[in-house]
Symmetry: C2
Subunit: 584 residues, 2 copies
């Protein structure tokens, strides 16, 4: 037995108890006649004391030679501390050590094992096992585990069955790029790793499994943007004999449960917003509604003057920045530079100051009088002391630009409080999305999403207008989940695939098994998937997911700790009926 | 809303309630003036009734045209059945239908959706989504979900943290063959899918995570024997600051909890058996101890006569078959043929009948007298009416052969009752195992297993004798879990890898990250992994795992439902810097 207690649980109630503790040396202070050692484990830190009066000389000497991160075991007595530390749970006591065993030594770690470490991202990733000893990472992983159990317990109680779907499946060119796995036993053939268990969960519905869930790894071989991982985790769910309302209610219940269980936050009914409204009011399908700054469309009150920039724009749109009139000219110029950065891409920004006396001062006073500017203020909801920022251009682009500006300003103004939670359903997504490069429509959600009843006829005449029974759950400006009611009959699925550019042969080769399944009594069904990595990060009050993943990969898809991927033996390649084909 | 109730919950208490049900048409009986339809969903079957007196003509006609597996929705009133069926939960009631909607039609299923189907294995796999509608498969999957939740809840309550380890890791030639995943972003390099999260869970221990678990998919590219899957699920666990005793206690607790929670069976302390004893008494490291038939070693009482077969054998060993003296000569000859089958491989079998009058009659009466045969009976524990079966030859082979015979006879004698649970710890496994083909030793468990204290010196002189702190949990003759105390210092790990034939460079290239980690204060640690597929099958009273896996692969590693693996596009190959290299 290596320990009788852990390093986080001893209090004044244990005084005079004989204990055995094990853990890591966090730090030691050596006064010569007395040595204190902070002993750390997963549960906390307990102070050890060795002193001339009560400890043998040998033992003090041993203690003096302990290095940081040594693993030790001690026996001793819990005693009251002379100077208590009210900031730590074990701060009332210390251990008068009678026996010390070094279980393992440590060489000097490449960074300090402290909440605020001196290690940069790269070195921390290479020595992730040391990084995990730090509270911010350790607590994030423990938090994740807590969320996962809460999810499973809630869904199990609601009658959902956890079903494990296969990881070695079939590659489909639709959507993102698959990771593939060569099959040795079937030479020249490949499995693919699932981008999601989508078709399998639909087959479970056909199989009568009615309420399915799974917390499952998914894989996408995409060029990695910041904060994207080639493997990620989904809470994947599907239900049969449900309509959209049933699904929203169940998963609103789950999310409400998590917020209460994990964050202690109680939230009533989640608001719902049409996709079209989200785009119009926030320029974004995942609006952060913890704060206002809704868009005001200004075409009607800007396109009657000689200002060509606005007159030629498809959309003129502004937001009111609370208190923004206090910005200096220089600060506003910086803001204009910010929106002109290539990542945002605006050509410029027009502004109008809302002075305390009710007057306005804009950067386009030449074109617009006080009455015009008063209308800008009215439409954007600007009050005295605010600043109206206006962008113009093509609708989709300008919405994205103004949305970026809105989020940036909210961040600067401290309006994105990570302790405040504002969930939102965005519903009635378009079925199809125009790929501006190719001019083709592709499925906005996926090819199995059902168009709204009665809208399938629009597919030929006006495909961009067809709405789907598709919905996203948004939390604090992040999409944390999304799903749809699925197609459950072969004919509709065939029409859908045809519109997505699949020939009949391609459709059959790739999705034949699903379309066959629809012929044997497929029930109406739909579902939803949450991105667990992001959900956990947001519930944990953070926006980057990396600390919530035990062993993340870097932006080149590498695990720098184990140094993967790596070359494999020629024998292995030959066995797989493969040859390298490297560009020279 | 597609339903107010499910098809398994309505009872006499609901009589006169208006309900809406949805489900599949299990079968219908049409008497012309009255039609009964069995409506099925995940929860059960409810009888619908349409009759001339109370139902409109149209509705009866509609009901008459319902085919098997049609998906329908009905509204109606719960009424008392004229002839009740006490064998089904809903047997007291039926639904007098007032409204019927066909949600989806079905063509004729390729096999009957009944507990005992007319579909063979192959067709059931191809239409697995229909197979899942059948109770035996559906209930197995629901049972699995229940076990998984029970495992996670128990371990979470015990302070274990669920940590997801990566699926895209690095290939290591040690052990079974890896599935590999070409990296597009790192041309010419490959990830491997984990055979287990072994090194990652050890790094979590180095990271202070102290109690880890995960229910996780693992992958092995092996030629598939019956009942092996290329992807399988482990309950993977690891603990730090523990010795073997701590680990056995925790996972005995888990298993006891499962047996109670899932099977309603209470079992006290699990027995423990040394590996050497298991091999000696049962010829097997996973003995089924639901019944006796322990081996009796007969060298001392057989090698004093002129019977060359025994005299030349390394081991002469027998078992007593309860009541076996009732076998006819023909039956015994069949048994001898059975042990001579290539799958068992014995050259022959000697037997001795234990007559009711205390005399013996053996197949080698020429060599052995009644006193000799009395000793055989004594040593094997045979009583009057039993049959002593004796095999001889090389120790390892003959043990395996007699073990196979013991299991076969127990099966025939009905001694392997799936409702009886006999767990057993087998401990003190050898560290190394001789590969008889190559003459090299390899790790019996894995290269990270710790030799028993003080035995590391034996590695040079007598490697086969070194015992490890390694243990298996056996349930009803199946290994359901296994683990070990791990090496946690770099020097020992280096010695171990050297003995396994790794050069220093190979050791560094493959396990350098782990050995580096051991230098930064690695705590003593150890763990265990359960095979979930098998565990669930055995708890479910079965020995084949296939019905407990939603979408299993066949013996060629194919998913015949989705037809994977499959060829991929040339573009995909090129992007991955690969070319096919097929043997012509």
């Amino acid at each position: 037995m290596y320990r009788s207690h852990n390093c986080g649980e001893l209090t004044a109630a244990h005084i005079n108890t004989e204990v055995t503790l094990s853990g890591w040396v966090q730090k030691s202070r050596d006064k010569g006649f007395i040595v204190w050692v902070d002993l750390r484990d997963r549960y906390g830190i307990t102070q050890l004391v060795f002193d001339e009066e009560r400890t043998s000389k040998d033992l003090i000497e041993q203690a003096q030679h302990l290095g940081r991160e040594f693993v030790i075991q001690v026996k001793g007595t819990v005693i009251e501390r002379a100077s208590k530390n009210p900031n730590m749970p074990t701060g009332d006591i210390e251990i008068l050590v009678s026996e010390l065993i070094i279980l393992n030594k440590s060489i000097l770690p490449p960074f300090t094992i402290e909440d605020k470490t001196d290690g940069g991202e790269d070195i921390r990733m290479k020595y992730r096992y040391l990084d995990i000893r730090r509270n911010p990472v350790k607590n994030s992983l423990i938090f994740r585990s807590k969320v996962s159990q809460a999810v499973r317990n809630y869904l199990s109680t609601e009658g959902f069955i956890e079903v494990e779907t296969p990881y070695l499946i079939k590659s489909t060119p639709e959507g993102a790029r698959d990771f593939v796995v060569p099959s040795r036993m079937n030479a020249g053939e490949f499995y693919a790793l699932p981008q999601s268990p989508q078709t399998f969960k639909q087959l479970l519905m056909v199989g009568g499994m009615d309420k399915y869930f799974q917390i499952v790894k998914c894989f996408r071989d995409e060029d990695l943007r910041a904060d994207r991982q080639p493997e990620f985790t989904q809470i994947d769910c599907e239900m049969a004999f449900v309509d959209q309302e049933d699904i929203l209610n169940v998963f609103e219940g789950l999310t409400r449960h998590l917020l209460k269980e994990v964050n202690g936050v109680e939230i009533e009914k989640f608001p719902r917003m049409l996709y079209d409204d989200a785009m119009r009011l926030y320029g974004n399908d995942k609006p952060d509604i913890r704060f206002g700054m809704e868009f005001g469309e200004l075409n009607a009150v800007t396109q009657h003057k000689e200002f060509g920039v606005f007159n030629n724009a498809e959309l003129v749109v502004g937001i009111a920045v609370p208190g923004g009139n206090s910005y200096t000219r220089k600060e506003i110029d910086k803001l204009i530079d910010w929106v002109k950065r290539p990542q945002v891409g605006a050509l410029g920004m027009i502004y109008s100051r809302c002075n305390d006396d009710g007057s306005f001062k804009s950067s386009v006073d030449k074109f617009y009088d006080q009455d015009d500017l008063a209308k800008w203020a009215e439409i954007t909801g600007a009050k005295a002391g605010d600043l109206v920022c206006v962008l113009s251009g093509d609708t989709n682009k300008v919405r994205a630009q103004l949305s970026a500006l809105r989020m940036e300003l909210a961040e600067r103004l401290g309006l994105r409080d990570p302790k405040v939670f504002a969930p939102l359903w965005v519903i009635d997504f378009p079925l199809l999305e125009l790929d501006e490069e190719t001019g083709h429509y592709h499925a906005m959600h996926h090819p199995f999403t059902s168009p709204k009843p009665g809208q399938i006829e629009l597919l030929d005449s006006n495909p961009g207008e067809v709405k789907a029974n598709a919905y996203d759950l948004v939390l604090n400006g992040n999409e944390i989940g999304g799903g749809s009611i699925r197609i459950h009959d072969k004919a509709t699925q065939a029409i859908m695939l045809k519109h997505l550019g699949f020939s009949e042969e391609e459709a059959k080769a790739q999705f034949g098994f699903l379309m066959d399944a629809f012929e044997y009594g497929a029930p109406p069904h739909g579902g939803l998937a949450f991105g667990l990595d992001r959900l956990v990060a947001i519930l944990g009050g953070q926006e980057t997911i990396r600390d919530f993943i035990a062993f993340p990969k870097n932006n080149s898809g590498r695990d720098v700790m184990i140094d993967a991927p790596a070359p494999i033996d020629d024998d292995q390649l030959t066995e797989l009926s493969l040859k390298l084909n490297l560009k020279s």
